[in-house]
C-alpha cells in the first residue's frame, strides 16, 4: 500500500523542515519527501493543498480508563478520540483499576491497543505500588513490558524520600518520572483556584503555592539525584519560572502544559460549571500569560491534554463533589492553533509542541517525518472552522468546558503506521 500526500505544507520541526512538498508512504514507512512525486507511484492520493502535513501528533498525558473504568472511556473510544484529534500516539496514565503497576496490566493495555485501538498507545507505569506513595513499583519489569515512563498521576508522591528513591531508581532503566506536583496539605479541601472567583463563589481555594512548592521540591530532587523528571500539567506562573531556572542550571527536567491551562482562567468556573473543574485548577490570567510565555520560549516542552473522561453522573452534581478533569483529545489542536493566530507562537513551534517536543520529553520513538521513520502522519486543515458539539465527540465521555466554542483547525486525515485511521 502506497499513500501519496500531495501539495501540503510539510512541517517537521524535528528536522527544521518546512516547505510545500509531496510525501510518500510505503509499507508503513515514510519513503520520500520531494517537491513533486509522481501520482502514478501511489495506490491512494491525498490532496493536501492548503493543508499542513505534520508528524503524527503525540499526547503524552491521557487517561484511557481501561481497564476497570470503561464506563468513562476505553482503549477503543479513547484512541478513536485521539485520531479524530490528529493524535497518532498517546501515553496513558496508570490510574486504572487495577493500577498499572505491574506487567500484566501493561501488556493488557498494549495488546488491547494493538488489536482494537486506532493509534499507538504507550503505557506509563506507576511510580509506587498501587499509587499509594509508599513502595516503589517494579520499574524494571514495567519498562521491559513496554512502559516508557512512570507516574502516580492523579496523586503526588507526597513523601520526599520515596520521590528521591524513585528518581534514583529510574536511572537504571532510563525512564522518566512524571510528577503530578501538588502539596496536598496546602490543597486542603480546595476545589478551584484560590483567588477572587473562589472568594466570590464561596468555594474553597487551591493556592498556586500548593503546586509550586512541590514543583520546586521535585526539581531539586531531580537535580540532586540526576534522575529524569517531567512535570505534568504545569499551571502556575511560579512553576514555569522554577522549570525555566532549573533548565538553565542544566537539570534534567521537562514539562508540559494543557490547552485548558493556556486558554481558560478560573472565570470559567462561574455558574458552578463542573466542566471547568480540574486538577490542577484553572488559574489566573497572569498564570495563563506565563504558560504562554513558557510555550513560546521553550521552557515548556510539550502540550499534553490530560484527557480525563468522566461520566455525566460524575459531573452533574454540586461543584464541590464533582470529579476533576476534562476530555481534551479532540480540542487540543485547534486550541494550540489559537496560540498561533494570537501570535504567541509560530506554526512550526505549535507542531513541535504537539509532536517532537512530547516525543523527546518521554523518549517516545516518534514525532518525526524522517525517511524510514514509521509513517505516523497528520494532515491538518488549519482554516477548517467547526463548533464543539458534545454529541459529536468521539470520546465516550463529553466533559468539556469548550462546548459551543468556535474552533479553527482540525485534522482531516490521521495516518498511523501507514494506515489511514481517520479522515474527514
Amino acid at each position: 500500500m502506497k499513500i501519496l500526500i500531495k501539495g501540503g505544507r510539510v512541517i517537521d520541526p524535528s528536522r527544521n523542515f518546512d516547505q510545500v512538498a509531496d510525501l510518500l508512504i510505503e509499507d508503513g514507512k515514510i519513503t520520500a519527501i520531494e517537491a513533486t512525486i509522481n501520482t502514478n507511484a501511489a495506490d491512494h492520493v491525498i490532496d493536501a493543498s492548503g493543508q499542513l502535513v505534520t508528524p503524527g501528533l503525540i499526547d503524552i498525558h491521557v487517561h484511557l480508563r481501561d481497564p476497570g473504568l470503561e464506563y468513562k472511556e476505553d482503549i477503543i473510544t479513547g484512541t478513536l478520540a485521539a485520531v479524530a484529534g490528529g493524535f497518532t500516539s498517546v501515553a496513558c496514565m496508570p490510574n486504572t483499576k487495577p493500577v498499572n503497576d505491574n506487567k500484566a496490566v501493561t501488556q493488557y493495555m498494549i495488546n488491547r491497543a494493538k488489536n482494537d485501538g486506532y493509534c499507538n498507545v504507550f503505557p506509563i507505569g506507576a511510580i509506587t505500588k498501587g499509587m499509594a506513595g509508599e513502595t516503589l513499583s517494579e520499574m524494571g519489569e514495567l519498562k521491559e513490558a513496554g512502559c516508557l515512563a512512570v507516574s502516580d498521576d492523579g496523586r503526588p508522591v507526597s513523601d520526599g524520600e520515596v520521590m528521591r528513591r524513585a528518581l534514583e531508581y529510574s536511572r537504571s532503566f532510563g525512564i522518566t518520572v512524571v510528577s503530578h506536583t501538588e502539596d496536598l496539605s496546602l490543597v486542603g479541601e480546595g476545589v478551584m483556584n484560590d483567588g477572587f472567583v473562589a472568594t466570590e463563589l464561596g468555594l474553597k481555594g487551591i493556592p498556586w503555592v500548593a503546586e509550586d512548592t512541590m514543583t520546586a521540591r521535585d526539581v531539586m530532587l531531580a537535580e540532586f539525584t540526576g534522575g529524569r523528571l517531567h512535570v505534568a500539567h504545569i499551571s502556575t506562573k511560579g512553576g514555569v519560572e522554577i522549570v525555566r531556572q532549573a533548565k538553565a542550571r542544566g537539570v534534567n527536567v521537562t514539562c508540559e502544559a494543557t490547552p485548558h491551562h493556556f486558554t481558560l482562567t478560573d472565570e470559567a468556573v462561574r455558574g458552578y460549571n463542573t466542566d471547568a473543574k480540574m486538577n490542577p485548577p484553572l488559574r489566573s490570567a497572569a498564570d495563563v500569560a506565563a504558560i504562554r510565555a513558557g510555550l513560546a520560549d521553550g521552557t515548556i516542552d510539550a502540550i499534553a491534554t490530560d484527557h480525563a473522561p468522566h461520566h455525566i453522573d460524575e459531573k452533574n452534581v454540586e461543584f464541590r463533589i464533582a470529579m476533576n478533569g476534562i476530555v481534551g483529545l479532540e480540542t487540543a489542536l485547534p486550541l494550540t492553533l489559537e496560540l498561533v493566530a494570537a501570535g504567541t507562537i509560530d506554526l512550526p513551534r505549535a507542531v513541535a509542541l504537539l509532536s517532537c517536543g512530547p516525543a523527546h520529553a518521554l523518549n517516545i520513538p516518534r514525532g518525526t517525518l524522517d525517511i524510514a521513520a514509521p509513517a505516523d502522519v497528520t494532515v491538518i486543515d488549519p482554516s477548517l472552522e467547526w463548533i464543539v458539539v458534545r454529541e459529536e465527540l468521539k470520546s465516550k465521555s463529553k466533559n468539556t468546558p469548550f462546548t459551543g466554542r468556535k474552533m479553527k483547525g482540525a485534522a482531516t486525515c490521521t495516518i498511523v503506521g501507514g494506515k489511514i485511521v481517520f479522515s474527514r
Binding site: L201, G202, V317
Partner: protein
C-alpha cells in the same frame, strides 16, 4: 415597581430597587406579626418546601413561620433525613421535589451553588437559605431591615463585619447588598479567615478589629465555627476572644449609638462578650423578628406578589 425575579439565589442578583422593594414589603408584613391573628390568606393554596440539607433550626423555623403566616402549605425536608447522606444525588432530589409540584422551594445546602443547580432544573421558585460559604440573602436583607429601623437610612452608614470572613455566606450577601445601598463596609478578622480578593467585593479589609470598628454605626459579629478548630485557622478560642472578640472596651471605639448585630447563634465569650450580647446596643432579637417579615416578603414577591396585603 414590579419584582421580576423568579428565584432569590443571592443579593448579588438584586438591584438597589429590588432591595428597597423587599425591605418596604417586609415593613408592611411586620405589622401582621404583631396582630393577635397572625395570618393572611395571601399564599393560600401554595406549597412551599423547606429543604434543609444542613442544620439550621432558626432559619428553617423563620421560613416556616413566614410561609404559614401567609397561609401557604409548608413542608419540611430536614437535614437528618437528607437524601444526600443516603447517597442520592441532588439531581434525584430535585426530580423528587419536582414531582411534588411545589410553588417555592427554600433550600439550605452545605455546597456552594446547590440552589443555582436546583434553579436550573426545577420549574418552581428557588430561595437560597444559605449555600456553603457563598450566600445567605435573606439574612443580609433582614440585617438591612434592622439597620434601616435603627438608623433610618443605610446610605452612608459605616458597617463593620468581624470574624470568619472566609467561611461566611452572611458576609458575601451583606457585601453585595450593603454596597448597593450605599454603606461603607469594613471587614476584620484573623489573616487565616480573610479570603483572597474580598476587597474587590467592596470592602476595606483590616486584620485588627479596632480599626474596623472605629466610628462604626453598625458592628456585625460573625459566629466562629467551633468545629473549624482543627483546621489550623486559630490557635485557640481564648486567643480569638482576646484579639477579635467584641467586648465593652472595643465597642467604645464605635459610635456611641452604634448597634451590635449577630446572625446567631452566638458563642458567648468567644466572638461576643455576654455584657455586649445583653447590652443596650444589641439588636439581635430584633434581627430574628425581622427575619420572619423579610422571609414573608420574599415568599410573597417570588410568588408574583399579585394579591394585596390585607
Amino acid at each position: 415597581m414590579a419584582f421580576n425575579h423568579k428565584h432569590i439565589l443571592g443579593t448579588e442578583y438584586l438591584s438597589r430597587e429590588d432591595i428597597q422593594l423587599i425591605l418596604d414589603t417586609a415593613e408592611s408584613f411586620r405589622e401582621i406579626n404583631t396582630r393577635s391573628i397572625k395570618k393572611v390568606p395571601t399564599l393560600r393554596g401554595k406549597t412551599i418546601i423547606n429543604a434543609f440539607f444542613e442544620n439550621s433550626t432558626r432559619t428553617r423555623l423563620s421560613f416556616e413561620i413566614a410561609g404559614k403566616r401567609l397561609s401557604a402549605d409548608t413542608v419540611n425536608i430536614s437535614g437528618s433525613t437528607s437524601s444526600v447522606t443516603k447517597g442520592e444525588t441532588l439531581e434525584d432530589t430535585a426530580r423528587n421535589i419536582e414531582a411534588m409540584h411545589p410553588d417555592i422551594i427554600v433550600i439550605r445546602h452545605g455546597h456552594s451553588g446547590a440552589p443555582h443547580y436546583l434553579a436550573e432544573r426545577l420549574h418552581c421558585s428557588v430561595i437560597n437559605a444559605g449555600d456553603g460559604a457563598h450566600e445567605h440573602p435573606s439574612q443580609a436583607l433582614l440585617d438591612m431591615l434592622t439597620m434601616r429601623q435603627h438608623k433610618g437610612e443605610i446610605d452612608g452608614l459605616k458597617v463593620a463585619i468581624v470574624g470568619d470572613i472566609a467561611h461566611s455566606r452572611v458576609v458575601r450577601s451583606n457585601l453585595y447588598a450593603l454596597n448597593k445601598m450605599g454603606a461603607d463596609v469594613h471587614l476584620a478578622g484573623p489573616g487565616t479567615m480573610m479570603p483572597s480578593g474580598i476587597e474587590r467585593l467592596g470592602a476595606t479589609v483590616h486584620y485588627d478589629i479596632r480599626a474596623a470598628i472605629k466610628d462604626a454605626d453598625v458592628v456585625m459579629m460573625l459566629r466562629i465555627q467551633l468545629e473549624r478548630q482543627g483546621l489550623t485557622l486559630l490557635p485557640t478560642l481564648r486567643e480569638y476572644a482576646r484579639f477579635f472578640g467584641l467586648n465593652d472596651d472595643v465597642l467604645k471605639l464605635a459610635k456611641a449609638d452604634a448597634i451590635v448585630m449577630h446572625p446567631g447563634p452566638m458563642n458567648r465569650g468567644v466572638e461576643i462578650s455576654s455584657a455586649v450580647a445583653d447590652g443596650p446596643q444589641n439588636v439581635i432579637l430584633g434581627q430574628v423578628e425581622n427575619g420572619v417579615a423579610v422571609r414573608m416578603a420574599l415568599l410573597y414577591l417570588v410568588s408574583g406578589g399579585e394579591q394585596a396585603v390585607e
